[in-house]
Symmetry: C2
């Protein structure tokens, strides 16, 4: 489709590894620091992170907000600047660049840097847009005959999540406490969640705001998306089951959401466009797609008990979603709801129809009835010390657009009330 | 209980009006501008607003962040500074103040200023904590036998709302579009909401943050609240009915939430403390109250078709709530969810048991079956051009702690899709 469907060769050897996540074609943005210095914006290239604040200071390109601890100022520059900077970075990092010495001075080995939350999350909205996931969860919570809610094929169902607890990959996750009540119990009790779970998602990062009272079309919505991150919507299934009627999940989801450290731009993903699955019912005009809006992105999850090697527990693809992020965003504005730079939209759990493609333990172990084997251990839900890691990449011809990883290790619950 | 249960007399005559909202006892904070100048923080006193940024510049008290377009920097100074500044303001504005001339130069007639959103809303959470409202709505949505969800007497039920569309009193409200489907229709349609409603609420403004992974007790939660505002949680009942299962209200509530321009401090409300109603089931320890946590605050709503005088449609009291904001906040952190300065917690609709005390049109007209008379007009839900206004005050001995008003006029929906 475009030149970028083949590898753009770099003068940095490690960026030419066909199995590496960060070739010149990718150039995902993040925020990093080295030693104790101030976090600033960078871009991943091969085994390095390129210090974009240093490039700004060196005058290699205009000041566009990279000397900041979040990508929000850069995103606020808008799509024309995003495109310009991408072209400049490709030129600087490709073979034949005449600025290799200047660029080399702004490279840090990724192994040596600390990665931070890449952007200030304005608000976080989570959707429920995977057909298989909705069917699986619906079957377990409401029975097979009520699995898919009647609105599901018409509306990209979503709810407002909690932005204050969105953390970057690698942040330890504290097991939540909450109200628990089994159906056969008379009264609820309070204590640590016993059914702690993950949700494999992709997050869309909003880079262009919209005004209150002004809905946007699906095409306009697509153009508002700056990029995508891996996203793990940690979920306390037992807290959720007792609290979620009638107003939806609240504390079951509020304790933590982990995102990957690298925002892969829409531009980098363009060659991997693919369509949503066939519509089972016609969509209302405001949700109809002008072209392919999903991406062909391979996704997987590994799980590792403390001290053990990770075991793959899920392998699926983003193209399984019934609704795209652009459709979700158009719906989000349909009432006149305004969007801000840094808004984060979770895709909803990405599951395929086969058990090997299920994107949550709730589905993989079928609500705990079919335990999972991890080396010597078995698991229904997450135990303290377990590490869960999401992986993702789009596969080009001889190169990959990688998302890095999205990992979290679970710590025991705090004792509360004291 | 304290000295402030009687009027603190001011050298500003209009602050001594026994029916006025803003005596020295109150001193609610807001953000204002005059002409086209920069918004800054002020305090309401009688018929004036006192320019606190000017007082800072004049050295009448230490710089505590008032020269800003939001109260967040001042709130970040913490409770000891809040208390200190309140004492200094009481001294400056009481009879006998030796700084009357300096203060007089920083007074603007409230009629002449523009009031702005008083704080940057970090995140907005809305609760469902009124016993009568939950029973009424539950009866209409799910039938009398399922009116109160089984968790309701155990959990302060809440959901995350949308912060980007919280606006200040006086902002025009655009009627939302959305998906609508009557039970007898086969497919949904898209168009303007036909059942636009209000919800009479009080909002708690969080002034002290809490850390991720660290739940707070009810007593700690109470101390985190900076103050309270009137809050109208505009609701599209028809959009809500079709979208809200299984993950709760989304676009039905996302288009607008109006708050009053004046944040009444917890300190000003202290003399009006009252207890929550008797518990129908014992609460879990993490939700139990150490003392009275509600307030005796008279609330009312008026409705005015375009060009007509307002008619009262509801008169109730904040003490009707089953859960206090402190209990809601403690629950909000129970999973480890962190709170930030500027978080806004809606109380949930405040309704009493009598029809005259119902805090939404859904209840007042019983889902549109019992129309309301407003002068020559009748209403089931809100029509274009209607103005809805919330009012609130706590009644002391010869003085009032007023909240001002919280008003919005409804404009026609935009034509969409184009």
């Amino acid at each position: 489709m475009t030149n970028s469907t083949i590898l753009i060769r770099s003068w940095i050897d490690s960026a030419n590894d066909p199995d590496g996540p960060f070739p010149v074609n990718n150039l995902p943005y993040g925020v990093f620091s080295t030693g104790g210095d101030a976090p600033r914006c960078g871009v991943a290239i091969g085994e390095y992170v390129l210090d974009l604040a240093a490039l700004e200071r060196a005058g290699l390109f205009p000041a566009v907000g990279f000397d900041a601890p979040a990508l929000n100022p850069f995103m606020a520059q808008g799509p024309a600047v995003w495109a310009d900077i991408r072209q400049r970075l490709i030129a600087l990092l490709s073979q034949g660049s005449d600025q290799q010495e200047a660029v080399r001075q702004a490279l840090f080995l990724r192994a040596d840097v600390t990665l931070h939350l890449p952007f200030k999350v304005a608000e976080y909205t989570d959707f429920y847009a995977g057909r298989s996931h909705a069917t699986n969860i619906g079957t377990m919570f409401r029975g097979a005959e009520n699995a898919l809610p009647p609105n599901w094929l018409h509306i990209p169902i979503g709810y407002n999540g909690r932005a204050s607890t969105v953390v970057v990959s690698g942040t330890a996750i504290r097991r939540p406490n909450g109200q628990l009540k089994a159906p056969d119990q008379d009264m609820p009790s309070f204590g640590p969640c016993k059914r702690l779970d993950i949700e494999l998602e992709l997050g869309a990062v909003i880079g262009v705001p919209s005004a209150m009272g002004q809905p946007v079309s699906v095409a306009e919505a697509d153009a508002m998306i700056f990029g995508y991150v891996l996203l793990n919507d940690w979920s306390a299934r037992d807290i959720q089951a007792w609290e979620y009627q009638p107003l939806g999940p609240f504390q079951a989801k509020a304790f933590a959401t982990t995102i990957g450290a690298w925002v892969v731009t829409r531009a980098a993903l363009e060659p991997f466009r693919t369509s949503t699955p066939p519509r089972e019912k016609p969509l209302l005009p405001y949700l109809q797609e002008a072209g392919p809006l999903l991406y062909d992105i391979d996704l997987s999850v590994t799980m590792a008990p403390a001290g053990q090697a990770p075991t793959p527990i899920c392998r699926t693809n983003y193209s399984r979603m019934y609704y795209s992020s652009a459709q979700q965003l158009a719906h989000h504005t349909s009432s006149g709801c305004s969007m801000n730079i840094g808004d984060l939209l979770g895709s909803g759990t990405i599951s395929g129809p086969e058990k090997s493609e299920f994107g949550s333990l709730q589905e993989i172990t079928w609500a705990g009835k079919e335990p999972l084997t991890l080396g010597d251990a078995t698991r229904t839900f997450i135990e303290d010390g377990d590490t869960l890691t999401l992986h993702g990449h789009a596969q080009g011809q001889g190169y990959r657009i990688g998302f890095g990883t999205c990992a979290g290790t679970v710590l025991p619950a705090v004792t509360y009330p004291k």
